[in-house]
Assembly symmetry: C2
């Protein structure tokens, strides 16, 4: 987890990834949302690309030249569970109220949540979980 800490252990990186999950993928849109300094934003975006969490995709809008969009890679999308767990924690322990986003089943509209499950895919009581160091 030390590497994960190195990647995520940065205020801007975390916020940039949140933007990416919301679908914001253009430099200037992120800059405006986050009010991050340009040089820092450029630096963090490059790091995330170098680590394979974001990738640049050229896109072109009508009557405009080609530009780069920053989109989540497969590995980047893999962080979704972590973000959802974090949002769920924030809702329960920090904001105290309802979080600004909810996770729903795209088809039934039923609410979903992050939980610990056993091999059969049944939610397990977190109190039963034990950490075991591998060797």
């Amino acid at each position: 987890m030390a590497l994960a800490a190195e990647i995520l252990g940065d205020r801007w990186t975390l916020l940039i990834l949140r933007e990416a999950f919301y679908g914001v993928c253009r430099y200037d849109d992120m800059r405006e949302d986050l009010k991050a300094p340009r040089s820092t934003l450029t630096d963090r975006l490059n790091s995330l690309v170098a680590r394979g969490i974001l990738e640049k995709q050229p896109y072109q809008e009508a009557g405009d030249r080609v530009r780069q969009a920053y989109v989540l890679t497969e590995a980047g999308r893999g962080l979704a569970l972590t973000f959802l767990a974090l949002a769920q924690w924030g809702e329960a322990h920090v904001t105290g109220g309802a979080a600004p986003v909810a996770v729903l089943d795209r088809e039934t509209g039923a609410p979903l949540r992050v939980a610990l499950v056993d091999e059969g895919g049944r939610a397990a009581d977190p109190a039963r979980a034990a950490l075991r160091l591998r060797n």
Copy 2:
């Protein structure tokens, strides 16, 4: 999630919390494990206490004076799912190999994992999840 980012968006804070989850709770033990500068460690521990994620508990060892231990509060323990999801991600996308820790059911010893579940506690396909902004 902005507040969560403010709390966790820091390399040392993330590592300190990992120590706390492993059960390390003494200043000098953390300092040695993390090789963090004293001033930074003191600063981060104080922040975590101020935010109610860690708390100081006085303890006394035989023939020694009272000292303070830093232990996770209820809110702090609530971050476990987030950490497990992050460890799971690291295992799948960063280290490529087996993570150093596994989560097991304390009683049956069966492996557990973090997943998205529906209201009935059944694991749901992450691809079916959709974010919905509340208003």
